[in-house]
């Protein structure tokens, strides 16, 4: 086994986890762009998506496609519901209040799933049917291929949606200037709901891919991917959709390579260290815009 081959395999590992981070980071970045808040509960929506898939498959005995749709539907409704019930009353409140509420929602989802499903991890088999492929001694697993394809499709269609459709333009307008968008006849509430719906649907897909990869469920499964995806969103420039994709991939690569060649113990510290560095040197991230605070 050559060293080169090993590096290549680590890069593939990084791309796989990075593309999942990118998917989650999109949710953070879109919500931040429009509602100007960090949706702390976003990581836990991944968890709900994963459990919904399990419930669909193991309890209702749905076919795989049905369970996937059920999971996406539940997360979309949940995302919109959370926004309506918990965040909307606080739209004019201090950012601190919104942030604490979001932490509360995150805790609420976690403790509810703990009460319903228990702390013991639940095994759930992958729904990806086919085995991996081998290219010149490098083996790529089936789930890795599926993850890469699914995330690419999601990102491409999201980019098309935001740039080419009317609703997409409305979203961009609201994120640019809420007041002006409202004056132009855009329904701000509806647009914010739509953003939460899309972000949560992407989180559900991330949750499904997560289950297929790791094949086990626990109530806290969304916390770490959620926080790391947030780091990815900041790295790419929060509020920027291409930035979130780029940030996710870069973060996945950094994490995988630092684990392999620097230290597994310190890889988390390295990831968070990057966050701190980016925020200190270039708070707007790689592709983000600089915003000035006005009185």
């Amino acid at each position: 086994m050559g060293i080169l081959q090993n590096i290549l395999e680590q890069v593939i590992n990084g791309l796989r986890s990075g593309s999942i981070y990118a998917l989650i980071a999109l949710g953070y970045t879109m919500v931040y762009g429009i509602a100007k808040m960090i949706n702390f509960a976003h990581g836990d929506i991944i968890m709900v998506g994963a459990y919904a898939l399990y419930v669909g498959l193991a309890i209702f005995h749905l076919p795989a496609v049905g369970a996937v749709l059920l999971s996406i539907a539940i997360c979309t409704i949940l995302g919109v519901g959370i926004e309506r019930i918990a965040y909307k009353p606080l739209r004019s409140a201090q950012p601190l209040a919104v942030l604490i509420t979001a932490i509360g929602v995150s805790f609420l989802l976690q403790s509810l799933s703990l009460l319903i499903f228990g702390a013991t991890p639940i095994p759930q088999a992958s729904i990806v049917g086919f085995d991996g492929i081998k290219i010149g001694g490098i083996s790529i697993s089936g789930i890795t291929i599926v993850t890469l394809i699914v995330t690419t499709i999601c990102m491409a269609s999201l980019t098309w949606f935001i740039n080419k459709t009317k609703l997409g333009s409305a979203m961009r307008a609201v994120s640019e200037d809420k007041g002006a968008a409202e004056l132009m006849g855009i329904d701000v509430n509806k647009t914010i709901s739509l953003t939460f719906a899309i972000g949560s649907a992407l989180a559900a897909i991330a949750g499904i891919l997560y289950v297929c990869q790791y094949q086990s469920l626990k109530p806290t499964l969304g916390a770490m991917p959620g926080i790391k995806a947030f780091v990815a969103a900041v790295l790419g420039g929060i509020g920027s959709v291409p930035g979130a994709m780029l940030g996710g991939i870069i973060l996945g690569l950094i994490e995988s390579l630092s684990k392999a060649y620097i230290s597994t113990e310190l890889s988390d510290a390295i990831v968070f260290g990057i966050l701190v560095l980016v925020l200190l040197i270039k708070p707007s991230g790689l592709l983000g815009k600089i915003r000035k605070e006005k009185v």
Binding site: P89, P95, V105, F107, V234, E265
Partner: protein
């Protein structure tokens, strides 16, 4: 006139403190306190210190910090290493440990205080969370802290037998932070919270006060950590995780952000209540989550204003005045 009033208040506060102390001590030495409650005395004090110090940054400064447990762990480990390596009588060893733990945490407070100069709100919250995680994984990989195995056999210099010292430390913390809030600097800190740009425009040196608030909060969190390590006798890096930081935040939110008295009462309630309801512990986290959400929505909604200004309340007030 004003001065006399504050003096009166001070005397009253001191009197209340002494009365509480005498009650607890007599219960303790009269053997009236069950062992369960005896073992809660120190955790209550620790949580009071943690909540009051977090209140300084979150309540008064208005910046959410999610890494308070990180400061606590720095203090706990530093203090524990001091006593484990010194082998001197407690009267020398423990004050040194307290001081070292507090200072070490304060140094980390400075390190976090620097990004604070550039960041606000959401970003700052995430950076403090990241710092907490970094501290945890560094402690976990260091030789001197014994990594994942943690430290054990730390002398119990702060268990219930030494309640008097711990109580004194708690009171000192409360008074120190209270004084800081009511001082010129403290009013500046509040001004920063209420309007950052306006405060800067009037000539308040925003950066200096912000960093100072962070350092003071970190210092006291470190002190709480030293007490923790000398109460339990063992330390593990996983004790001081994100959940611990959130637990302290829940205390501050329940007590009311910016209210020191609220923090003290909430810390007592949230330490004692879970013990009384041991069997229902599964619901504790759920309850914390609901406290966070409901308190926030309630605080910023019209309901609170309406209740405060409602007929019933004003009538009550009138009745009281007449009586």
């Amino acid at each position: 006139m004003k001065n006399r009033q504050t003096d009166k208040q001070l005397i009253k506060n001191i009197a209340i403190t002494i009365i509480i102390f005498i009650i607890v001590e007599s219960l303790l030495y009269g053997g009236l306190l069950s062992r369960q409650f005896r073992s809660l005395l120190i955790p209550v004090c620790i949580n009071v210190i943690l909540a009051v110090s977090l209140n300084l940054t979150t309540g008064f400064l208005g910046e959410l910090t999610l890494g308070h447990a990180g400061f606590m762990s720095v203090g706990a480990y530093t203090g524990a290493l001091v006593t484990l390596n010194m082998n001197l009588p407690m009267a020398i060893e423990f004050p040194v440990a307290l001081f070292a733990g507090g200072i070490a945490a304060a140094i980390f407070g400075v390190i976090i205080g620097v990004p604070v100069l550039r960041l606000r709100g959401d970003y700052l919250a995430i950076v403090t969370l990241a710092f907490g995680e970094i501290i945890k994984s560094i402690i976990n990989s260091m030789k001197i802290t014994n990594g994942a195995m943690g430290l054990s056999g730390i002398e119990l210099h702060a268990n219930y037998k030494h309640f008097a010292y711990v109580f004194a430390l708690t009171v000192i913390t409360i008074f120190a932070i209270k004084n800081m809030v009511h001082s010129r600097q403290g009013r500046a800190v509040c001004a920063i919270r209420d309007n950052y740009i306006a405060a800067e425009a009037v000539g308040i040196s925003v950066s200096r006060f912000k960093v100072m608030a962070f350092v003071v909060a970190a210092f006291f969190a470190g002190i709480a950590g030293v007490i923790y390590s000398h109460n339990v006798g063992t330390l593990k890096p996983t004790t001081f995780d994100y959940n611990k930081s959130i637990e302290i935040l829940v205390i501050v939110v329940l007590g009311g952000m910016g209210s020191i008295r609220g923090s003290v009462i909430a810390a007592i309630i949230l330490t004692v209540l879970p013990e009384l309801l041991r069997s229902a512990d599964e619901f504790r986290m759920l309850l914390y989550a609901i406290v966070l959400i409901v308190m926030m929505i309630f605080n910023s909604s019209q309901i609170k204003q309406r209740i405060l200004s409602s007929e019933i309340l004003s009538r009550l007030r009138r009745v009281k005045k007449e009586a």
